[in-house]
Symmetry: C2
Subunit: 334 residues, 2 copies
């Protein structure tokens, strides 16, 4: 079944959230938005392509969720409050069923975070979703990548590596992404890949505490490396302190998880640094938003990221994540 | 020649413009931007796909220019000052030559309008360019589509239809888009298609004068129809008052131009309405920014757009523009 453009647009437009600060939403040449005083505008853009950033058989609702989640995750890593987004949707065919299901996942997450869709377009072409997400943060309070200091602790939220396990199991044809897995542990892992949780509340709670932050999209070591590069420092990660996945263990994949947890991307947890003097406050603030947090290392002078084992021996560098444009076709941020 | 992601990103990043209001640009999880006080944020997003929105053989510099121009044109139609943009670039291969040429056109136009690139990503895939453009306008002064009043004049800037002539000549294999035409008039027409001029200065000058405005992307009648729909009014367009193209005449294409001028899109001129009482001010304000302007009709009560000839007879409705998603694959705005 095909669909004229009016019907397709209407299906999306009528589900766009309402916010008091949207003076003019979808339907004019551009949207008009009211910025709160004393805040800086925070803007990020990410594209997901079918077969590159998600398996082609991924349910459209999961695609809608994830396309927005990766953008919200960038706002989380800045400590920003989400507000508005644009959506450019390229579709091979104008299927109302597909669009409705995509919108189910997209707006489920958008509504959770009071994010209003304020513009964009639909185009015919290979399935691709480009989102620009906007939010705001009190002036000067954003979490950046360039503030890590020697002596800071390195922290991580949640359990990075679970999405990587799900991806590996899918690649080995041991996990379907097209629907729920029968096993509860496997289903947990599948959801970590299909429906990542952007850590927005954690980002806000870390304002004034974290010296630097990033979301983990390329892999823990690679993304911590970005902090080190921008902050001109080195980091030491204690292999034995990395969070273990109970769900991976329950699914019999503890060994696979261990090989992936430092390098796998797609979890969208936050990695951040904070002075050792606020260690207690970090733990309290993360508890207040019910986000698990683990101290995994420290910042040193120098450059680069080193993994060390329990005896302090340096482990071989792990493969970097997904930033090899021609080889793997992942998107790379500007 | 392929290119690692770092080189590709660096080629674009190092050419991004600098603005004092960019507190943090490309290179973190998101950009941090300082909104001027007393202004509303204006946001628009448009995607161009190869073979759909431009012929595949279009030179990359022209693609870079046009992808930004169509977004700037939306800001112009709001009366907004451009400020920042994100760029999501999908490329079949990582060619530095292509990227450099694309950036030549993109930044030529961006620098003209002091527009800073502040984020985005590069992805492997069919050639596609998604841009979200941001600007600002004094609160309450934006030009919207919904303010046209019965009795208002209808105006148009420039000479809509010239881009349509160029497109028709290309479709008839009488004009190359891959480089300059030898004939000066044909080259003028080709440039109208390849490098449209966003009417930003005209948009600013119309603040406080125009009651409604839109940029002409779908065709003059179709876009004026959008104003009528949003303003709940009708419009009457005087066929004989529509601007004639001297360049189309010089190229021997006066007849073709006449058949296209009311319906062809892609010119990105502004169509706007203003009270008859400010007719002189409209002419003066457009003269002050050196933008040709023509009064082409008036707003009535009722609905829809009518074309009338010199004797007042209603002409048959012309085909609408490019808004038929499945049939022609044009993008359609949310």
């Amino acid at each position: 079944m095909s669909l004229d453009e009016f019907g397709l647009i209407e299906r999306i437009r009528r589900r766009a959230g309402v916010r008091a600060d949207v003076a003019l939403g979808i339907g004019d040449d551009a949207a008009l938005l009211q910025m709160p005083p004393g805040q800086q505008l925070v803007v990020t853009a990410d594209t997901l392509n079918s077969g590159v950033h998600f398996p082609a058989e991924t349910p459209p609702a999961d695609i809608g969720w994830k396309a927005l989640a990766v953008n919200l995750s960038d706002l989380a890593a800045m400590g920003a409050a989400p507000a508005w987004c644009t959506l450019s949707l390229s579709l091979p065919e104008a299927s109302p069923t597909w669009v409705d299901a995509f919108a189910d996942g997209f707006f489920e997450l958008a509504d959770l975070h009071d994010m209003a869709l304020i513009g964009g377009d639909t185009t015919r072409g290979p399935l691709s979703i480009s989102i620009t997400a906007m939010g705001h943060v009190p002036t000067g309070e954003a979490l950046r990548r360039d503030g890590a200091q020697p002596g800071d602790d390195v922290w991580v939220t949640g359990v990075p590596g679970e999405a990587g396990v799900a991806l590996a199991l899918w690649q080995q044809q041991r996990l379907e992404v097209s629907g729920p897995a029968s096993d509860a542990a496997l289903e947990h892992l599948r959801c970590r890949l299909a429906r990542p949780t952007p850590r927005l509340a954690a980002g806000w709670a870390l304002r004034g505490l974290a010296t630097a932050a990033i979301d983990i999209s390329d892999g823990l070591l690679a993304d911590l490396g970005h902090i080190c590069e921008r902050s001109q420092v080195a980091a030491e990660v204690l292999e034995d302190e990395l969070p273990m996945s109970q769900m991976a263990a329950q699914a019999g994949e503890a060994a696979l998880f261990r090989t992936l947890r430092a390098s796998a991307g797609d979890d969208y947890e936050l990695c951040f640094t904070a002075p050792a003097s606020v260690r207690g406050q970090v733990i309290e603030s993360m508890a207040s938003v019910a986000v698990p947090v683990t101290r995994i290392g420290c910042i040193r002078t120098g450059s680069g990221v080193r993994r060390v084992d329990g005896e302090g021996a340096v482990l071989p560098a792990s493969r970097r994540g997904f930033d090899h444009f021609p080889a793997e076709g992942r998107s790379t941020g500007l």
